[in-house]
């Protein structure tokens, strides 16, 4: 299940719903990304997320398909916010389920690296000092590149 929407994400309710879909799995991993309240130098008041439908959803679907080919998963949910958010709001929720924990952990990590560096979103932070578009950091690209190295194994 993939959801890209302005609707607020309730991570607890999302995990409960996922557990229903993942019934019978031996391992469930979930990750929630939350809007932080401090930027590099200033307090953050809002974060604005822009998407481009259907490229955003199509790209996430391709990443989910790849996760399914790389690991024996029984369920995947990806929810991602768009629009205006405040510190403390959940921006992304990813959950994976598998018979064993390792596949679920790795697939969730893989999907988050995709979302951070390749998913079609743009982020604008409003701080006490003004607005700033945020692009992925070098560390984010390095994290994402780990999966290229292990693709053939």
């Amino acid at each position: 299940m993939i959801v890209v929407a302005e609707t607020p994400i309730d991570a607890g309710a999302s995990l409960s719903a996922f557990q229903v879909d993942a019934h019978g799995a031996g391992g469930i991993v979930s990750f929630s990304g939350v809007v932080r309240d401090v930027a590099k130098t200033n307090d953050v008041s809002t974060l604005f997320l822009q998407a481009y439908s259907p490229m955003t959803e199509n790209g996430i679907q391709a990443a989910v398909d790849e996760a399914n080919t790389r690991w024996p998963l029984t369920a995947i949910h990806v929810k991602h916010r768009t629009g205006e958010m405040a510190p403390g709001d959940t921006i992304v929720f990813v959950a994976t389920a598998s018979a064993h924990r390792r596949a679920a952990f790795e697939a969730a990590d893989f999907l988050m690296d995709y979302l951070k560096t390749k998913a079609v979103f743009w982020k604008k932070e409003t701080t006490t000092e003004g607005n700033r578009w945020i692009e992925p950091r070098a560390e984010d690209y390095l994290d994402s590149a780990r999966w290229d190295e292990t693709k053939e194994t």
Partner: protein, 82 residues
């Protein structure tokens, strides 16, 4: 008419999020459209910058992609969510 979309910081540079334009003669590839947009907005090496990707009708394309002037063409700075 071509629908042009300016995402992320490109909207700040152009002052708009989209344009509906008739492509001038000679502007018939992504590369020539990038050059024309930099001239149109009086900016240097913004649309022509290599990190700005282009998509035509929801598919990423290269600079040599030929345009017929009736597409939706998106210009996209580096992406990233989460």
């Amino acid at each position: 008419m071509a629908n042009l979309l300016y995402f992320g910081r490109l909207a700040d540079v152009t002052g708009k999020t989209f344009d509906t334009v008739s492509l001038p003669n000679g502007v018939n590839t992504i590369a020539s459209l990038r050059t024309w947009l930099d001239q149109k907005f009086g900016i240097e090496n913004v649309f022509q910058a290599p990190e700005i990707r282009a998509a035509v009708d929801n598919e990423f394309v290269d600079n040599d992609r030929v345009l017929n002037g009736n597409e939706e063409i998106a210009f996209m700075p580096p992406v990233g969510g989460g």
